[in-house]
């Protein structure tokens, strides 16, 4: 492989996952929590595709596409929840949304 080896990609994916996990843990706006979740999903995708290239196996790329579809579904439901909360004038703060009650 010309250019950096797979270990570089995996390290980068690990750092990106750490940034996303930090965002999920410290931010309280549900929209930014969703964006940080996207970061984590994308870092997993990067690792999958790096390993697919490394082992010359297409399953990693196929799985990355499946992860993308699941991420799209998650965004759909998550944004639906945010819109529902906004309609009921509930404050958008994940610390105050710790109970599953309207």
């Amino acid at each position: 492989m010309s250019g950096p080896g797979v270990a570089w990609y995996i390290a980068l994916a690990g750092v990106l996952f750490g940034i996303g996990a930090l965002g999920v843990l410290i931010r309280r706006n549900p929209l930014i929590v969703l964006l940080s979740l996207e970061l984590m999903l994308n870092s997993a995708n990067l690792a999958l595709i790096a390993f697919a290239r490394h082992w010359h196996n297409g399953a990693g790329q196929v799985f990355a596409l499946a992860v993308m579809a699941v991420a799209a579904s998650e965004v759909c439901v998550g944004l639906g929840l945010v819109v529902a909360l906004n309609r009921r004038n509930i404050s958008l703060d994940v610390d105050r949304l710790s109970e599953l009650r309207g």
Partner: protein, 190 residues
């Protein structure tokens, strides 16, 4: 001799592209979690997805890179920006309210995750990650992905479509349910 020179030039070029993409990836990732306005966070995530697409191209995953730009940077982020604009500019007060140990614990937990990933991968796989090889020219092209999807991974393909359908139905139900509740509340108020 010319071939060796060309190969090393390509190698240097790939490294340069990788380093630039990696810095923009990490910088935009930090920007996503540090902006207080979610609108800017979403814009930073678009930059993040663009640099990820460059990474995928370096890994000869052409179809995934195209799908990344179309599905993520296109559809998903437009939906995000739409909802952020709908919700309106509500500024979050980032550090007030919660106990300070929560922030410290979050940083420690994220650091532990990172160390775990890097150390475990480094220790377990250091010997196996060195070999490099050439892949065929078809690897990662749309035609190849399509063939793999509809032969070896047909079940995953179908399950993915069912997941998307369920999510779409769930989104519609979430929206319509709150609207109905609002209408009944207004009717009872009158």
């Amino acid at each position: 001799m010319n071939l060796v020179l060309a190969a090393s030039a390509g190698n240097v070029l790939a490294w340069i592209v990788w380093v630039v993409a990696a810095f923009s990836l990490l910088g935009s990732g930090v920007a996503v979690i540090s902006f207080s306005n979610p609108f800017y966070s979403a814009l930073a995530l678009i930059g993040n997805l663009g640099s990820l697409a460059v990474m995928y191209l370096l890994l000869t995953a052409e179809f995934v890179a195209a799908a990344q730009v179309l599905v993520y940077a296109g559809a998903v982020m437009v939906m995000f920006l739409f909802v952020i604009a709908y919700v309106g500019p509500r500024q979050e007060s980032p550090w007030s309210g919660g106990p300070p140990w929560q922030t410290v614990a979050a940083v420690v937990a994220a650091g532990a995750l990172l160390v775990e990933i890097v150390v475990v991968v480094g220790l377990q796989a250091s010997g196996h990650l060195a070999n490099d090889g050439k892949v065929g020219p078809a690897f990662g092209t749309p035609g190849w992905i399509g063939r793999v999807f509809l032969t070896d991974h047909l079940f995953a393909f179908e399950i993915t479509s069912v997941v998307l359908l369920v999510a779409a139905v769930g989104g519609v139900i979430l929206g319509s349910h709150t609207r109905r509740a609002q209408v009944t509340a207004e009717a009872s108020a009158q």
